[in-house]
């Protein structure tokens, strides 16, 4: 389990951030060692940039700065002290999680597996037992989304698609889900995508 260092002075944000990370399979920690660091820039004593500079002296873990400040200067300083990413408050949690995943992904494989279903993200193909099918970009993202979480709301899936520059609306999602079901049906994966009425979808 990846440990994530959380440095944030606002108690409410710190608590919620730690819970969000814990709920998404990370282990929030208050001190080193860690696999990734989330640093707030505006801290009462020592600012986030200082902490990053110190951290960089003996570690090369990815660092994401979280800041309420708006200026472009801050961004330059952030990258100057060795930050890997820079996210402005208030951030959308799905965006934050996506960026964390992207920085940690360096090690993980592009293949997702749930029960007997295997999805290859780079080749955009899905395998079930001996059979396989090719997917479109939209379908790949939707299936990846469903395979990563036990239950996805429609908005979550749409936002995940938008985060990947695929701007679909709810009707298109509906059509895509049905096509995906057809393709899975053809390779023998029956009833893999189930509708949770009024909520969303789950595998």
């Amino acid at each position: 389990m990846d440990r994530i260092l959380v440095i944030e002075d606002d108690a409410a944000i710190r608590t919620e951030l730690c819970e969000l990370l814990a709920a998404n399979g990370y282990k929030p920690v208050g001190e080193l060692p860690c696999e990734l660091a989330l640093l707030d820039v505006g801290l009462p004593q020592e600012n986030g940039y200082e902490i990053c500079r110190k951290l960089r002296q003996h570690s090369d873990v990815p660092v994401i700065f979280l800041t309420a400040r708006e200026s472009a200067e801050d961004e330059l300083v952030a990258f100057g002290v060795g930050g890997d990413d820079f996210i402005r408050k208030p951030y959308n949690s799905s965006v934050l999680l996506a960026r964390i995943a992207r920085l940690l992904k360096r090690k993980s494989s592009p293949v997702l597996k749930v029960r007997e279903l295997t999805l290859n993200l780079t080749e955009m193909t899905v395998h079930f037992q001996e059979q396989s099918a090719e997917l479109t970009r939209n379908e790949t993202r939707i299936l990846a989304c469903l395979m990563q979480k036990p239950l996805c709301t429609r908005t979550e899936i749409i936002e995940d698609l938008w985060n990947n520059s695929l701007y679909v609306d709810e009707n298109t999602l509906y059509v895509n889900i049905n096509r995906l079901r057809d393709k899975l049906h053809r390779i023998g994966a029956e009833n893999y995508i189930r509708t949770v009425r009024g909520v969303g979808y789950r595998l």
Partner: protein, 352 residues
């Protein structure tokens, strides 16, 4: 100043000189002076007067020219009193002193106003940053609530349950999820409003915070679209992007401009199709929504102007496009808005 005007200003003096000439002429004539001598004397007197008029006119005109050039070269006219040449004439000297008083008092007022404005802008900026903390906390709390609701659905419908369609255990679940999403949209609106006041404060202190760099148009467009996805998805806006070019500008500000245009789309034409194209040094954003009436088109970027669309939809401040226009002027971007009522609105940002 013309010579006739100058002559008019010296009318009193000239009258007395003429009276003097007549009286002394009469005296000398009565004393039996030679008329020839009298004539020469009068003539030389007149010539002397004329010469005096001419010289003093030229000198005065020169002083006027100097005054004009000082006034023209000074950007802050209220400082004029500080740089005027000191006159010798007692009346002019009195005026000169008054002018100095006026200038000093104006200077004091201007400095005070500038300081007040800076203090105000500084506070607004720090207030906005403070504001982000509760907004961030709220958005994280909402995520947690949403996950808790989903968790409850999962607990009520364990893995073994393999129907094609699952009914959530309670009717409240969809309502709850919908409310949470609506709350998240409201938070996004609050965030957008704080951002627009930040940029409003910035257009009042130009030059500050502008960071010119090399950016790609496509990256700015994607950024803007993604940042507004909550509102755009809820409004059922269909986004299509195409093209790209490299540009040299302040990326953050351009992203803000694009966000404002997208917010307008979500606000005024839900369900419409928005095409954002970047090519030939121009970013165009076109929707197929309600459009803007032609008689209102020239006024939409005016400060505080809300047209019929704004009044119908409500909640329009008339500041969005004003700030956009001001920022465009600051960054040398030509802003063109074209529209046909009931058909389309097209906003072009020209970077050349």
């Amino acid at each position: 100043m013309r010579f006739s005007e100058y002559l008019y200003s010296k009318a009193v003096t000239l009258c007395f000189l003429a009276i003097g000439l007549i009286i002394f002429g009469a005296f000398f004539a009565a004393a039996g002076m030679d008329p020839m001598f009298l004539f020469i004397m009068a003539l030389s007197f007149l010539l002397l007067c004329l010469l005096w008029l001419l010289v003093s006119f030229l000198l005065t005109r020169e002083r006027f020219r100097k005054l004009d050039s000082i006034a023209d070269s000074l950007p802050e006219k209220y400082l004029l009193g500080e740089v005027l040449p000191k006159p010798s004439d007692p009346i002019e000297l009195a005026y000169y002193r008054v002018m100095k008083l006026v200038s000093r008092s104006a200077l004091g007022q201007a400095e005070q106003a500038k300081r007040d404005k800076e203090d105000y802008c500084e506070y607004v900026e720090s207030w906005i940053h403070e504001m982000k903390t509760p907004l961030t906390a709220s958005s994280l709390i909402l995520t947690k609530a949403q996950e808790a609701v989903i968790e409850s659905v999962l607990l009520a419908n364990p893995e073994s349950h393999l129907d094609a369609e699952i009914e959530p255990d309670r009717e409240a679940v969809p309502v709850l999820l919908d409310s949470l999403e609506r709350l998240r949209r409201e938070l996004k609106r609050a965030d957008n409003l704080t951002e627009s006041i930040l940029y409003y404060a910035r257009i009042r202190t130009p030059g500050k915070e502008i960071q010119i760099g090399d950016v790609s148009a496509d990256a700015l467009i994607q950024d803007a679209v993604r940042s507004q996805m909550e509102l755009l998805i809820a409004a059922g806006i269909h986004i299509e992007t195409e093209g790209n070019f490299e540009l040299h500008t302040d990326g953050r500000t351009v992203t803000f401009i694009l966000k404002q245009l997208l917010i307008n789309c979500a606000k005024y034409c839900p369900g419409c199709h928005v095409r954002i194209a970047a090519q030939d040094g121009q970013i165009t954003l076109e929707d197929d929504g309600i459009g803007i009436p032609s008689y209102e088109l020239p006024r939409v970027t005016e400060r505080g102007y809300t047209g019929t669309n704004g009044k119908r939809t409500g909640g329009s401040t008339g500041m969005g496009l004003y700030i956009v226009k001001e920022l465009c002027t600051q960054l040398d971007i030509r802003l063109e808005i074209t529209s046909t009522e009931g058909a389309y609105t097209r906003v072009a940002l020209n970077f050349l």
